[in-house]
C-alpha cells in the first residue's frame, strides 16, 4: 500500500494518455460484457432447464395429433411420474375482425402446473379450475390487455367448431397465474382439457403434446426413446425431448450466434491488447531512468516489474469494471429486441480476469527489456 502514491503519480504523469486509455478499456469491456452476456444468456437458459421434464410432440409438425389414450401408456412406462396432455384453443375476443387473438392451453391444470415450474399459480386458482369446468386462468398481462377481471365471462370466437354448431367458446375467468421469468409479458390462458374435448367436433380425444416428469433425470434419453417407441410407425410419430434439450435446440435454431459473438470478441480483444500494450510500452519506455534509479537503490527486477504491473492494473481494473458495470446497466435495454443478456457475476469475473491478463501481457514485454538493461545504461537514457 505504501507504493500507492508512487503508482498514482506514475499514472498521472501523462493525464491525457491515461484518461484516453482508460476510456478505450472501459468501452471495450462494455462491448465484451454485452457479448459475453449474450453467450451467458444462452448457457443460463440451457443450464436452468429441467432435465427431468420431458415434452412429447408429433415429430412432423402439423401432422395428426396423438390419441389421448397414449396418456395411460406413457404413464405406465417405468420411471414416468406424472403425465398431462396439452391442446390449444385460439380465439378472437370481441370484434373478430381486429387482431386480438387469445391463445389458451387446454390441459389438466393440477398436473400441468407441477410440470411447468416456470409458471406460478395459487391453490385457490387450481381449486377454482377443478370446480368450474368452463373456467379459465389468465395471466395478469392478458387481463390487463382486454380489461378483464376475475369473475368475468368471456367469449372467444375460434376456428374450432363446437358440438352446438357455433364457434363461440365462453369461459369464466376464475383465477390467475403468471410466468416466473417474464412476469409482465406472458399473454395466454389455461383452460380445462376435459371441457374443450367434450364440446369440440374435430380432433376429439387427441392431444397436441404431452408433458412428463420422470423420476431419474439421468434417464431422460432412454425414457424419451421409450415414449417415442410407442408411436413409432404410426401416423403420428413423436419426438420427446427434455426441457434442457429443447433449450439447446432453441439456441441452435438461432444459428451460429456464438461463432459471431466469439469472432467479434476476438477482434475486440486483439485490438485492445494492441492499443493498450502500446500505451504501456510508451509509458514504461519514457520512465526507464526512473526505474533504473529504483534498481540502483537496490530494488530487485521482480519488484520493479511488480511496480510496473501494479500501475497497469491500477489503470486497467477500474476502467474494465466501469465498462462491465455499463454493460450490466445496458443489458435490460436490449431485452425486447435481442432477448436476455445476462451480465452475471461470472461474466464480470471473467472480464476482470481478462483485464488483468491484458495488463500482464502489456507490461511483460517492455518490463523484460528493462530488466535486461544494465543500470548504468538505463540511468543515462533520457
Amino acid at each position: 500500500m505504501r507504493f500507492f502514491p508512487l503508482l498514482w503519480a506514475g499514472l498521472w504523469r501523462r493525464p491525457t494518455r491515461s484518461v484516453l486509455t482508460g476510456l478505450s478499456i472501459a468501452v471495450a469491456f462494455l462491448l465484451l460484457g454485452l457479448l459475453e452476456g449474450v453467450n451467458a444468456g444462452f448457457s443460463k437458459a440451457i443450464a436452468e432447464a429441467h432435465r427431468d421434464l420431458l415434452v412429447t410432440r408429433t415429430r412432423v409438425r402439423g401432422g395428426a395429433p396423438m390419441p389421448i389414450s397414449a396418456l395411460a401408456t406413457i404413464q405406465s412406462i417405468p420411471g414416468v411420474r406424472e403425465v398431462t396432455q396439452r391442446a390449444y384453443l385460439m380465439g378472437a375476443y370481441g370484434d373478430p375482425l381486429l387482431k386480438n387473438m387469445v391463445a389458451a392451453i387446454a390441459t389438466d391444470p393440477a398436473v400441468f402446473f407441477q410440470l411447468r415450474p416456470g409458471l406460478t399459480v395459487t391453490k385457490q386458482s387450481l381449486r377454482a379450475m377443478r370446480e368450474n369446468r368452463s373456467g379459465m386462468l389468465a395471466t395478469p398481462a392478458l387481463l390487463q390487455q382486454f380489461g378483464w377481471r376475475v369473475g368475468d365471462a368471456v367469449t372467444l370466437r375460434s376456428q374450432i367448431l363446437k358440438t352446438d354448431g357455433s364457434r363461440d367458446w365462453t369461459f369464466n375467468i376464475v383465477g390467475t397465474f403468471d410466468s416466473v421469468k417474464n412476469p409482465a409479458n406472458a399473454y395466454f390462458g389455461i383452460i380445462n382439457y376435459s371441457y374443450l374435448d367434450e364440446y369440440r367436433v374435430e380432433d376429439r380425444g387427441t392431444a397436441e403434446a404431452f408433458y412428463e416428469r420422470i423420476a431419474d433425470p439421468t434417464k431422460a434419453v432412454t425414457t424419451a426413446a421409450a415414449i417415442d417407441q410407442i408411436f413409432a410407425n404410426s401416423s403420428h410419430e413423436t419426438r420427446t425431448q427434455s426441457d434442457q434439450e429443447r433449450a439447446e435446440f432453441q439456441a441452435k435454431q438461432l444459428g451460429n450466434v456464438q461463432f459471431f459473438t466469439n469472432a467479434i470478441m476476438g477482434a475486440v480483444l486483439f485490438t485492445l491488447a494492441f492499443l493498450t500494450g502500446n500505451t504501456l510500452r510508451q509509458s514504461i519506455h519514457e520512465r526507464i531512468p526512473e526505474f533504473a534509479v529504483l534498481k540502483a537503490v537496490g530494488y530487485s527486477d521482480a519488484r520493479v516489474l511488480g511496480l510496473a504491473y501494479a500501475e497497469a492494473l491500477l489503470l486497467y481494473m477500474p476502467a474494465a469494471a466501469v465498462g462491465l458495470m455499463l454493460a450490466y446497466l445496458a443489458a435490460p435495454l436490449a431485452k425486447e429486441d435481442i432477448g436476455s443478456i445476462v451480465v452475471s457475476p461470472a461474466v464480470a469475473m471473467s472480464g476482470l480476469a481478462c483485464a488483468a491478463l491484458l495488463a500482464l501481457v502489456g507490461t511483460a514485454l517492455p518490463a523484460l527489456s528493462l530488466s535486461r538493461m544494465a543500470i548504468v545504461d538505463a540511468l543515462r537514457r533520457r
Binding site: 471495450a28 409438425r61 441452435k252 486483439f270 485490438t271
Partner: protein, 396 residues
C-alpha cells in the same frame, strides 16, 4: 512558402518519420482495422438478411392472408375462399386463360444442419400448379418437377447445400411416409432457396388438412391491387387481407430485422467510440513526441495551420490504411460464408443466406474510418498549432 506547399512539406516530413514511431502509428491502423472489419461483419449480416427477404418482393405480386394474420403460416383460407380469390378481378391470366395464382400451405420439415448436425426446421411450402409461373425468378436447376399426387418435393439449392438429406433421390420423412426429393430450384434473392416445395393438394391430403394458409397472386399491374382488394372486401364471407408483396415482406421480417439492426449499430458505435479514444491517444502521443520538432518548424516560419492540417492528414492517412486492412481482413475472413438462422417463412424455420460484402457496406465502413481519423486527429492538431514555440523549444 504558400500554405499548400507548407502543408505538403510538413506532411511529407511527418509521414517519413512514421517508421521511427511505428508502434504508436500502428495503434490507429490496428484500431481502425478492427472497427472496420467488425462493422462490415455486422452490417453485412443485417443487409444480407434484409435483401434476402425483401429483395424478392415485386409490386405486381400480392399476398392474400386471412384477416388479421401477419405471417403466412398462422391462419387458414378455406377452399371456397381460395376459389373466390382466383376469380377476383385484377389478377393476371396465363396464355390459356388461367389465373396466375398459387394457394399454399406452409408447414415445416425437420432436417439436420450439416455444419453441426443439429436438428432444425425448414419451411415446407405446398404450392399450386402456377407457383413457378407466378415466381418466374425461380428456375428448376436440376432434376424434374414433382408430379402432383406423388409424394415428391423440390429442394431449394441453399437448403440442399446447408442441410443433410436434401439431394435428389433422397427421402425426407414427413407425414404419411417418405417424400422423395426429385429436383432442386434456385433464383431470386435467395429466401425461397431455403425452402422445400411440394404440391399443395398432395401435402394437404397427407396432413389431412382442409385449408390453405396463404395465397400468392400475380397482378395485371401493380395498380390493379385496388380492384382485387375492392372485390374481396365486398364479399362479407371472405375475411382476407390483400397486401402487395413488398409491403408484406417488410412487415414479416420486421422482428429479426430490428434485432440485427440494433446489434449492428450498437456494436458498430461502441467499437467506433473505443477506436476514437485510441486514435486521439495515438495522435496526442505523436504530437507530444514531436513537441520540439513542431516548435522548430513554427520557429522557422511554418504557419500553425500548416502544422495542424499536416497532423490531420497524417491521422487520416493512417485511418485509411487501417480501413484497407480491415476491409481486406473482412473479405478474407467471411465474404461468401453462409449463415443459417431463424427467419424462414415459419417462426422457427431456417433461412439460409450468404454474407456478401456489398459496396455500400464497404463505403460506410471506410467513411466511418475517415471520420475516426479526422476526429482523432482534430484535438491533437489544435494542440500542436497552439503550442507555445518558446516554451516548447525551452523544454529541450
Amino acid at each position: 512558402m504558400a500554405l499548400p506547399a507548407q502543408i505538403l512539406a510538413v506532411t511529407t516530413a511527418n509521414v517519413r518519420s512514421i517508421p521511427r514511431r511505428l508502434g504508436n502509428s500502428l495503434v490507429i491502423v490496428v484500431g481502425v482495422a478492427g472497427v472496420v472489419a467488425v462493422l462490415i461483419l455486422v452490417l453485412t449480416m443485417f443487409v444480407g438478411f434484409r435483401t434476402t427477404i425483401e429483395g424478392d418482393g415485386r409490386p405486381d405480386r400480392a399476398i392474400i392472408l386471412p384477416r388479421g394474420a401477419t405471417t403466412e403460416y398462422e391462419g387458414s383460407l378455406s377452399r371456397e375462399t381460395a376459389a373466390a380469390v382466383m376469380n377476383a378481378p385484377g389478377i393476371k391470366h396465363d396464355g390459356r386463360g388461367r389465373p396466375i395464382v398459387s394457394a399454399e400451405v406452409i408447414l415445416v420439415a425437420p432436417v439436420a444442419r450439416k455444419a453441426d448436425n443439429s436438428d432444425v426446421n425448414v419451411t415446407l411450402r405446398g404450392v399450386g400448379g402456377q407457383y413457378f409461373v407466378m415466381r418466374p425468378e425461380l428456375k428448376l436447376v436440376s432434376g424434374r418437377m414433382f408430379h402432383p399426387g406423388n409424394q415428391e418435393l423440390l429442394a431449394g439449392t441453399s437448403a440442399s447445400a446447408e442441410f443433410a438429406g436434401l439431394d435428389i433421390g433422397k427421402q425426407v420423412r414427413l407425414q404419411d411416409g417418405d417424400w422423395t426429393v426429385v429436383g432442386t430450384f434456385a433464383g431470386g434473392n435467395g429466401a425461397r432457396e431455403s425452402e422445400l416445395v411440394a404440391d399443395a393438394l398432395t401435402v394437404m391430403s397427407a396432413y389431412k388438412l382442409d385449408a390453405f394458409n396463404t395465397m400468392g397472386v400475380m397482378l395485371e399491374s401493380p395498380a390493379t391491387i385496388a380492384s382485387i382488394k375492392e372485390a374481396l372486401a365486398g364479399d362479407p364471407t371472405l375475411q382476407v387481407d390483400v397486401r402487395a408483396e413488398p409491403e408484406y415482406l417488410a412487415t414479416a421480417s420486421d422482428g429479426v430485422n430490428r434485432m440485427l439492426r440494433l446489434v449492428a449499430y450498437a456494436i458498430g458505435s461502441i467499437m467506433a467510440l473505443g477506436a476514437l479514444f485510441a486514435a486521439l491517444n495515438s495522435m496526442s502521443s505523436a504530437v507530444v513526441a514531436r513537441t520540439v520538432e513542431i516548435a522548430t518548424l513554427r520557429a522557422i516560419g511554418f504557419s500553425p495551420s500548416a502544422v495542424a492540417v499536416s497532423v490531420l492528414i497524417e491521422a487520416l492517412l493512417l485511418a485509411l490504411l487501417g480501413a484497407v486492412v480491415g476491409v481486406a481482413v473482412a473479405y478474407a475472413a467471411f465474404n461468401g460464408a453462409t449463415i443459417s438462422t431463424l427467419g424462414g417463412a415459419v417462426w422457427d424455420s431456417q433461412l439460409v443466406y450468404s454474407l456478401t460484402i456489398t459496396r455500400s457496406v464497404t463505403v460506410t465502413a471506410v467513411l466511418l474510418a475517415c471520420a475516426l481519423g479526422l476526429l482523432g486527429g482534430a484535438f491533437p492538431a489544435i494542440r500542436a498549432a497552439r503550442s507555445n514555440v518558446a516554451d516548447a523549444l525551452h523544454e529541450s
